[in-house]
Point group: C2
Chain length 201, copies 2
Amino acid sequence: MFADRGYARAGVEEIAEVAGVAKHTVYNHLGDKENVFHAAMEATGNAVMAENVAAAEHLAMDGAADPDAVRSRLEDVANRLLVQCCDPRSWALRRLLNAESASFPDLLESVWGHGADRLRQTLADRMARLSLAGVLRTCDPVEAAEQFLALLTGPMEARSQFGTRPVPEAELRGVVNAAVSTFLRAFQSDHLSATASAAAS
Amino acid sequence: MFADRGYARAGVEEIAEVAGVAKHTVYNHLGDKENVFHAAMEATGNAVMAENVAAAEHLAMDGAADPDAVRSRLEDVANRLLVQCCDPRSWALRRLLNAESASFPDLLESVWGHGADRLRQTLADRMARLSLAGVLRTCDPVEAAEQFLALLTGPMEARSQFGTRPVPEAELRGVVNAAVSTFLRAFQSDHLSATASAAAS
DNA sequence: GCCAGTTTGCACCCGTGAGTGCAGTTGATT
DNA sequence: AATCAACTGCACTCACGGGTGCAAACTGGC
């Protein structure tokens, strides 16, 4: 409801109706429209973040020997992250967070607060391991994670028109490939990229 | 008003009061609250986009000979873009666009429509020139522009908490440096980056 | 000074939606 | 069977805000 109509346009009665419950019951449980909103946001936020972190955790370091494995590993994770990221729930969450963070200042921290941090930190941990294993050049892993995410979500935001347009699979794959290519060019350790380009030629 | 409170919470009477005009006059000129919103969004959108494009146009190709000049040139443009991007008006525009694009489907195209495209194309033009001049490796200039923007705006979104937190100058400078560094590692033509790393060592 | 068009202040209508009160129903426990 | 808690349906209050009508005040042009 909130996702479709926004906070103001979503009526408590409608919400109760959809939930298969009487309006009064909603007030009995949560007391307040603001509380209903907060609860819904928190639940959705936790769910989305858990999925995102789970996707990021697929970036393991086995088979780190050859560069092709690293690339396909990164592409896999990138794909998982983008699929999560393009989920309607995920878009709705970001939209609402963005829209209502001005009206409800505490919303950001309680919903997104450590969520975004956790995703970035999880990714940063994997980056650090890859860096230590000599696959990536030595760099600030947090910065690497941040830019990896930026290369994925940035282009998506523009292409999906803030989530209003469904993005075809092929385009999504293109964004993933472009992001991973750029990321590897910037962060792959020098001797590996040299052997990769030698193998390619 | 719309920026502070969102569409629903912004009252026409308040708007008129702030504008130093009677509510009736607003209705005489624009007829409708929806129209008021549309007009405000369009005006702000055009202004913001004009500034962004102007910032992007600072990426000229003179002094393209040595890599240091390219870096400082990119940093300059990146800084200009980020400053525009962090302007409260700019944040508010994106927030409202994001929030109300579900309720007003035509808003996106009429306000952001070719705006975002124009910025990306403008930047892509400069990228193409740099690529042709041998400063950047041969690549899809649109993709390069897209990722350059992503490397700038992506980290900003997270750090400024969707625009609710003011970002200190130093942090902004850090994002700019990191973005330009990553971009150059990924897109600088090979012989130039070789000479650059040789000069650094 | 006169007039047309615009602006203003004010009161008003009315739809909407948050939140409440109350009486009746259900359902589980003992 | 009795009880107690929660749930339901319904009517209701009340504040808010979009939009309108009207008479008075102002504006520039002749």
